[in-house]
């Protein structure tokens, strides 16, 4: 059982490694770490929807694409600086998410999964077909400029590294705060049991939509970074395969933020070690997906059941005391499964009467 100081030490060590890593690695590995960071960012944004709220969403590449294309179009057509396009890209992706998610948000798990896949495919086909004459068809958009702050241009891999990982750090802090807020608790409750949540007066549809919008906003901003890093984007970069990778990262993470970082490294970093088997790389990637799931179906770091001292909210005999320690119910309840939330329930007694 982990103790608090140990957890803090692990986090500090991880942060130290991330901060100093590019000082020891060569340009190639720095580049790899930039893509790990981008995937980590995307996965953190999907974690809002899938990991923390339990909404089966496999179409995240669509929001990523919308953000990246918004940046690319604003930058190449209107000459907007990259950093100005970032909030706009996020907002456009969020608006898109709001529009597409509203009619489908009430669908049950697997139906939602397949509909979100459909959305990625529709977006990809729309991009290939040069919708509104803006997306450049199958060739995509090229000549996106580099981001710059106050005249300092971000060009080199190492600068991108700190930009992307800085953004990852900001997201970690922000989402950490979020999950401990009223909003985060509501989403977590919905994940555990949406019927009960509705019964307790949580507006499930509203919260699910907000999770979608927030995740999409973040994915859109990740799209900005991606477009700036690549300077060229095409529909191929936003295929369903991207959605699958992000999805797999979140599922393997078990829903925790540190888990997302570790599994992003496992899924994006490890295959790079196999560069020399370039042909068989994806074969091994597929195999690794199966092996990882069979090896650890509950995810790397399944969330521990949070315990709130909620005396002011609920008077519940077994809740709110310290008998079980902070790890109560950790073993059995970490699955990202709407039907599997059992086991830990009694241990926490957190369900309001």
């Amino acid at each position: 059982m982990k103790t608090e100081p140990l957890r803090i030490a692990v986090r500090v060590a991880l942060a130290a490694v991330i901060c100093t890593l590019p000082l020891f690695s060569n340009a190639y590995w720095t580049d790899v770490c930039v893509s790990i960071g981008l995937y980590a960012l995307l996965s953190l944004s999907l974690n809002v929807i899938l990991g923390q709220s339990g909404i089966f969403h496999m179409g995240h590449a669509a929001f990523f694409a919308v953000g990246a294309y918004a940046t690319a179009i604003l930058n190449t057509l209107c000459q907007w600086p990259i950093f100005w396009t970032m909030p706009v890209a996020g907002a456009v992706a969020a608006l898109f998410a709001l529009l597409v998610a509203r009619p489908i948000i009430h669908l049950r798990g697997d139906y939602l999964l397949i509909v979100t896949i459909g959305i990625v495919e529709i977006v990809r086909i729309a991009l290939i077909n040069d919708v509104f004459g803006l997306t450049g068809g199958a060739n995509g958009i090229f000549g996106i400029s580099r981001p710059s702050f106050f005249g300092f241009r971000v060009v080199k891999g190492i600068q991108f590294y700190y930009l992307v990982w800085g953004m990852v750090g900001v997201s970690l802090l922000l989402f950490y705060g979020l999950w401990h807020s009223r909003f985060g608790r509501a989403l977590n409750y919905i994940k555990e049991d949406d019927v009960a949540a509705e019964g307790c007066g949580v507006n499930v549809t509203h919260y699910k939509l907000m999770a979608f919008v927030l995740g999409a906003f973040w994915a859109g901003m990740a799209g900005t970074l991606y477009a700036a890093k690549m300077t060229t984007i095409s529909p191929e970069s936003f295929s369903f395969m991207e959605s699958v990778i992000i999805f797999a990262v979140v599922i393997l993470s078990g829903g925790s933020q540190i888990g997302v970082l570790i599994s992003a490294f496992l899924f994006i970093g490890l295959p790079e070690l196999l560069r020399e088997f370039s042909n068989a790389r994806m074969l091994i990637f597929g195999l690794a997906m199966m092996v990882m799931m069979v090896w650890r179906p509950q995810g790397l770091l399944p969330p521990r059941r949070r315990r709130y001292h909620v005396g002011s909210l609920v008077e519940n005999g077994s809740g709110g005391d310290s008998s079980g320690g902070s790890d109560a119910g950790a073993g059995s309840s970490g699955q990202l499964d709407d039907a599997a939330a059992t086991g830990g329930e009694q241990a926490t007694g957190g369900r309001p009467a």
Partner: protein, 301 residues
């Protein structure tokens, strides 16, 4: 009118293939509640195995093409069924009691694995089915010249579907499959060996999928290693359209999707064909969330 009928028949042929693939999805979903994303790639394996068997055995020297195709049809179905069975054992059975999404990711991994295995073995280029295998006759139907291969594909898929339907509805094993689909726990208590039934489902579904792969090869004459993904997604769409887990639903959904797509390609725009198929799916799910023949269950919200 003539164009409409042509597109309709075209749609029925493609829809028959979708329906065959959709049956595999729907059966697996029925008993395991798992979207078997690797199913589309089993379909591709069927197409490639069929090509290899047809070319390497050089049946045409010994048998007439029709018999050769029939023999290969059976062999492909059996081989792909075996692969599906092994897949269930290795990738899905260990995850049966784990979270639902872990199994989905495992299935996606299997899909990537198969797709790249095919690419490594055969290479990334297109393959062309030998021409002499394509039944080369046309039939006059309601004043239309219909390619014989189109009718054969429709006929073959209808025969397979009816056979499966009869098996599920009439036989004891079929009853066991239905029982497991409704409630595995209760079925177990009634003395049904659930593991065996699931194994059987993973033989039948992939077998039909593999046969459909061979049919696509013969129908279009051209295959490539990524085709399983598109067909798989379409077939899954078809399964949902008809109400997932429901066997007649998968058949109707497949045929319907094929027709919708053919008409969309003929009258709207061929480049948007796939997008229209998904759009229809979304629309149907919004209007009727459990599909055309799906039962209204007590949904969570």
């Amino acid at each position: 009118m003539e164009q409409f009928l042509q597109q309709l028949l075209n749609g029925l042929a493609v829809g028959g293939i979708y329906a065959l693939v959709a049956l595999g999805y729907t059966m697996v979903y029925g008993v395991l509640k798992l979207i078997n994303f690797a199913h589309g790639d089993l379909f591709t394996i069927g197409a490639y195995l069929g090509l290899t068997l047809l070319v390497s055995c050089n049946f045409s020297g010994m048998l007439n093409p029709v018999l050769a195709v029939l023999a290969v049809f059976v062999m492909v179905a059996l081989l792909v069924a075996l692969i599906g069975f092994l897949l269930e054992r290795t990738a899905y059975r260990p995850l049966r009691n784990a979270g639902r999404l872990s199994a989905v990711v495992s299935a996606l991994g299997a899909s990537i694995f198969f797709q790249n295995a095919i690419m490594l073995i055969y290479g990334a280029r297109f393959y062309v089915y030998p021409d002499y295998l394509r039944p080369d006759f046309t039939v006059q139907l309601f004043g239309l010249a219909v390619p014989g291969v189109r009718l054969l594909v429709i006929a073959a898929s209808v025969i397979l579907m009816l056979g499966l339907w009869a098996f599920i509805q009439r036989s004891r094993t079929g009853a066991a499959i239905r029982a497991v689909a409704i409630d595995p726990g209760a079925a177990q208590l009634m003395g049904i060996n659930v593991d065996r039934i699931i194994g059987l489902v993973f033989l039948i579904g992939p077998g039909l999928g593999g046969a459909a792969g061979l049919m696509v090869g013969i129908y279009y004459g051209q295959i490539d290693f990524t085709m399983g993904w598109t067909y798989g997604l379409k077939a899954f769409t078809a399964a949902i359209l008809g109400g997932i887990g429901n066997i007649p639903g998968a058949m109707i959904g497949g045929l319907l999707l094929g027709v919708i797509e053919a008409l969309a390609a003929g009258y709207i725009a061929i480049a948007w064909k796939d997008a229209i198929a998904f759009f229809v799916l979304i629309l149907i799910l919004i209007i009727r969330p459990t599909g055309i023949l799906g039962e209204r269950t007590a949904d969570k919200l």
